[in-house]
Point group: C2
Chain length 101, copies 2
């Protein structure tokens, strides 16, 4: 089916199809994030044991630059990718600080 | 190497190893998000064509409940998963509204 044959009735089925993909991608996101937090938890434990600071601005700067480039190549808004990384890093630092107390 | 043989010198190498995993997971996140935005862009186009509202609170409620359950099973903080989904959905709605103007 192409645009010219699309009609109002076909919208719900097409929507349901795309939403199935979104649900699969969201499940993948959750599991990758769960694994990422397992990694950052290990980083936090290493940092606490060796008395390293929870945040690492130099590392974060490199991560942001790399992810912006990856996002650009994948046709994803680099500003959104950066905001998302900051959102995740804020949560990670909160975990690291909580692990110290 | 286990905890009892770990020493200050080994922290940087252990950190570098875990950070390699984090970098790989971040690249996966970016590409899954890029694909997710391709899907939601298609949803936005369908909605605009069929004059459906950009936001869908019932669908979002189901998504939140499902992702919280997935997060819990994967040992990820369900509140974080919900906040992240809201963060992504806010961006998606912004795209849908921009696509209409």
């Amino acid at each position: 089916m192409n645009d010219t044959t699309a009609n109002a009735e076909s919208a719900p089925q097409a929507l349901l199809d795309i939403r199935k993909s979104i649900d699969n991608l969201d499940a993948a996101l959750i599991h990758i994030l769960a694994e990422r937090f397992r990694c950052t938890k290990a980083v936090g434990q290493l940092k606490a044991r060796h008395d390293l600071p929870p945040a690492d601005p130099e590392r974060e700067k490199r991560q942001v630059a790399r992810l912006r480039a990856l996002a650009e190549n994948a046709d994803l808004d680099p500003d959104f990718a950066e905001k998302l990384l900051n959102f995740i890093i804020t949560e990670v630092i909160r975990h690291h600080e909580a692990a110290r107390t």
